[in-house]
């Protein structure tokens, strides 16, 4: 019944998001949240156990397979983007710039917030450091969907839009690295076992990626290719969930292996996955929203700090990135303001952390990042106007749909 409720809610929200009643001119913030999928997050919070309670904690527990599948799909898509040929072509300053804006935001958030986490949770310093690192990782991530929409709509120079999108794609590596570190610190009783579990996830992903490349190698029928792709993603995500290791990391390893050894098959798999990307993302954010404890006041107290520090980190990190890559990459002025939107990967990180690291601290991290992501999405619309300048700023919000990854 709970799965039915999830799907009905999503169908209803699809209807709302697509309806003419949701006029971007009249409800710009709501239309923006609907287009980026974050409206589903708010719906999840509303229907979840801590507000209306239509879905109970038991229901959420039984919906874990859907959550694992969503994380696996996100991971494989992310891994497929790590195309070695393209990555090798990128000049070093581009990597430095991505590391600068992501790293600055990471340290701006993780360092100051480690103390309140340690003091309010009463857990070990190791756990608090892991949780603060994950907050930092979530803060370091940015979504390029505003820039993509802007250059598609002709409101931004294409080269600049792509430059922003490239930097936001590269910061995903920082997020994934920190997730691995946080899982090593928190997912097992000791560091060695934690490291072993992360390695197991990666090994599983590599095995499944190689197998998926072989399975899809000679498939010509699009329906068969889609079926094998979906089955492969479900297999890697399911195996990770069954072995209680990270489905996201396994998915990334699977996608990266496929990109490395799959050749042209990887492109076809990527296209097949693109068909299910948005529905899977919407289900995932809905479930992440359901998992929020809206009555955790300590988490609410951390949200202003998280959002404010991240904002500062992104603005300063953007300046630094511009200085490092300004000569090799076309970037807009006030780059930091283009990096405020946080995107869906941050939600994936905290959802994964919450599933694998037991305890209240992972729950608090999830609460802070989810609420922070919604606030950042709303802030991002205003901040992006600073990037476009008064002449290019749109009079009305665009109704385009773009997955905020």
């Amino acid at each position: 019944m709970q799965a039915l409720l999830v799907l009905l809610s999503i169908a209803a929200l699809s209807l709302l998001a697509s309806s003419r009643g949701l006029d971007p001119g009249r409800f710009p913030a709501l239309a923006r949240l609907a287009a980026s999928g974050f409206l589903f997050l708010l719906m999840g919070i509303l229907l979840g156990p801590s507000v209306v309670g239509l879905l109970t904690p038991g229901n959420l527990e039984s919906l874990r397979p859907m959550m694992a599948l969503g994380l696996g799909i996100a991971g494989v898509i992310l891994g497929l983007n790590l195309e070695p040929r393209l990555l090798r072509l990128l000049p070093r300053p581009v990597y430095s710039a991505a590391l600068a804006h992501a790293g600055t935001a990471f340290f701006f958030v993780a360092l100051p917030l480690v103390a309140p986490l340690l003091l309010t949770s009463g857990l070990s310093p190791q756990a608090a450091v892991g949780a603060a690192a994950l907050l930092g990782a979530a803060a370091s991530l940015s979504s390029g969907h505003f820039a993509v929409l802007a250059y598609r709509a002709g409101r931004m120079d294409r080269a600049r839009g792509l430059g922003v999108a490239l930097l936001t794609m590269l910061d995903d590596a920082v997020g994934m690295g920190v997730l691995a570190l946080a899982l090593v610190l928190g997912a097992a009783s000791n560091l060695g076992e934690g490291l072993g579990l992360v390695c197991l996830a990666v090994l599983l992903g590599v095995l499944c990626g190689a197998l998926l490349a072989f399975l899809t190698h000679s498939l010509k029928d699009p329906a068969e290719l889609t079926t094998v792709t979906l089955g492969g993603v479900a297999l890697v995500a399911g195996a990770a969930a069954y072995l209680r290791v990270s489905a996201l990391l396994a998915g990334v390893a699977c996608g990266a292996t496929l990109a490395l050894v799959g050749g042209r098959t990887a492109e076809r798999v990527s296209r097949a996955l693109a068909r299910v990307e948005r529905p899977a993302f919407l289900v995932l954010v809905f479930l992440v929203g359901c998992a929020v404890h809206a009555r955790d006041w300590s988490a609410w107290a951390l949200v202003p700090g998280f959002v404010g520090l991240r904002f500062l980190g992104k603005v300063l990190g953007g300046k630094l990135a511009q200085r490092l890559a300004g000569s090799t990459l076309e970037l807009p002025p006030r780059l930091g303001y283009a990096l405020i939107a946080q995107g869906g990967l941050a939600l994936c990180l905290v959802a994964e952390y919450g599933m694998l690291v037991p305890g209240g601290l992972s729950q608090r991290v999830l609460d802070v990042v989810v609420v922070g992501a919604v606030v950042n999405e709303l802030l991002a619309g205003q901040a992006f106007r600073q990037v476009l300048g008064p002449a290019q700023a749109p009079a009305r919000a665009q109704p385009d749909v773009e997955v905020a990854t």
């Binding site: 039915l4 169908a11 697509s18 599983l204 399911g238 969930a241």
Partner: protein, 432 residues
């Protein structure tokens, strides 16, 4: 085929590795997603192998499900297969929705009366044979041994209604797989659908009589109300869903597959909870859409057709994984005897009662009526829930029969379609 065998082998090796790795972990997580992925992939490649051997792909899906499932190699835990119940419900609803879009008024006018007449004959004769056999086997069936004659007669009638049931899902899946089109195919599809309506009514009546024989009292009004609710309520809810789909398609024009999946979940889950038939709900919805707006029907058909391959592969592989092989051992002889008698009754009734204007119906139709799957499973589970004292024994008997029917039924259905000369191709895109 060699490539498919190698790929299937590699998949099984990977599953064995995952299964072994899990033993080393102290606590296991949820196996549902693993079951979905593994059964989908294994099913697809087993289907290719089956096709290479001249068998229906569906037989490959079923056999590989049995092989990697909890009752054979055990690579997929039982909890994983059970967790796919939702997927099964979704698959049945989607399949029924597609089938419904093919039920045009013209077709019903053309063959409706003749199909209903033949269906009554086939179901009636098969019921009588099964009923007689079950009553005669009373000493051999432990759960009936201690019953009075009246109770044994009532239980025999109840079980016989379940034994009669057909499998619209298998039939529709094989028709999709082979892209069969023509009067024979139309007749077969209409017969299995109408046959299941007959079975639903008969089952409800037999359940009422059985309750009365065990001292529960016979409330005729309640009984008829229940049957009426299941039939007309399902059609009514299907009509409401059809209107909802048409409104959505006209107003929204996007995310149609997602909406249809949500709707099929609603039909499967909500229908079961409201004591309605999910199959009938979706059939009615599909039929109404196709007859009100032909283009909308085609769009739905196309949207679900694209998802047909994964839905069929997963549904039937999961059905195979859920087959309790040990049931065959315990009640095997009686079950196999019933399988033989049912087959003979269907063959005889088709030979004698099928319309004379198409000789193919007399010769081949019986082969398309052997399969049993989802509806029969559902009825068997209902017997367990309604009659806890003996229901579980009946379920074991029925599951043993389904196991046999699932293995031979798809092969026979395909042979019937091939013999009728209506198979177009085996390589239609997005088919089973």
């Amino acid at each position: 085929m060699k490539g498919a065998i190698i790929r299937l082998g590699l998949l099984v090796v990977l599953l064995a590795i995952i299964s072994r790795a899990q033993v080393l972990r102290a606590d296991a997580g949820t196996p549902v997603t693993l079951a979905a992925g593994a059964l989908l992939l294994c099913g697809l490649f087993a289907g290719k192998v089956a096709k290479g051997l001249g068998l229906p792909r569906l037989t490959g899906y079923l056999l590989v499900g049995v092989a990697v499932g909890p009752y054979a190699l055990g690579f997929i835990p039982n909890a994983g297969v059970k967790g796919l119940e939702l997927v099964k419900g979704l698959a049945v609803s989607l399949i029924a929705l597609v089938a419904g879009t093919e039920l045009r008024l013209g077709l019903i006018r053309r063959v409706g009366a003749r199909v209903a007449l033949l269906c009554a004959g086939v179901c009636g004769l098969t019921f009588l044979v099964s009923f007689g056999a079950l009553f005669a086997f009373k000493p051999l069936l432990p759960f009936m041994a201690s019953m009075t004659v009246t109770q044994a007669l009532a239980v025999s009638a109840l079980v016989a209604t379940v034994v009669v049931s057909f499998s619209p899902t298998v039939t529709i899946a094989i028709v999709q797989e082979t892209s069969a089109r023509g009067s024979f195919t139309e007749f077969l599809m209409a017969l299995v659908i109408i046959g299941d309506l007959f079975v639903m009514v008969a089952f409800a009546l037999a359940a009422g009589v059985t309750k009365a024989s065990f001292g529960g009292g016979l409330d005729v009004a309640e009984l008829l109300g229940g049957v009426g609710w299941e039939l007309f309520g399902s059609v009514g809810v299907g009509c409401v869903l059809a209107v909802a789909v048409l409104v959505y398609m006209r107003g929204v024009k996007q995310e149609l597959p997602l909406f249809l999946v949500g709707l099929s979940f609603a039909a499967a889950e909500g229908g079961a909870r409201l004591h309605l038939s999910p199959l009938l709900i979706s059939l009615a919805a599909g039929a109404l859409i196709a007859n009100l707006d032909e283009r909308a029907g085609e769009r739905i058909h196309h949207a679900i057709q694209q998802a047909g391959l994964p839905v069929f592969a997963l549904f039937f592989a999961a059905a195979g994984a859920g087959l309790k092989l040990d049931a065959l051992v315990t009640v095997g002889p009686v079950a196999l005897l019933l399988v033989g008698l049912r087959g003979a009754a269907i063959w005889f009734s088709c030979r004698k009662l099928a319309p004379v204007d198409d000789p193919r119906l007399k010769r081949y139709l019986w082969m398309g009526l052997i399969s049993q799957a989802g509806v029969t499973f559902g009825l068997a589970a209902l017997v367990t829930r309604t009659f806890p004292s003996f229901g579980s024994h009946v379920e074991v008997l029925i599951v043993a029969m389904i196991t046999a029917h699932e293995l031979v039924g798809p092969v026979l259905t395909r042979r019937a379609l091939a013999a009728s000369g209506e198979i177009r191709t085996d390589e239609a895109a997005g088919t089973a």
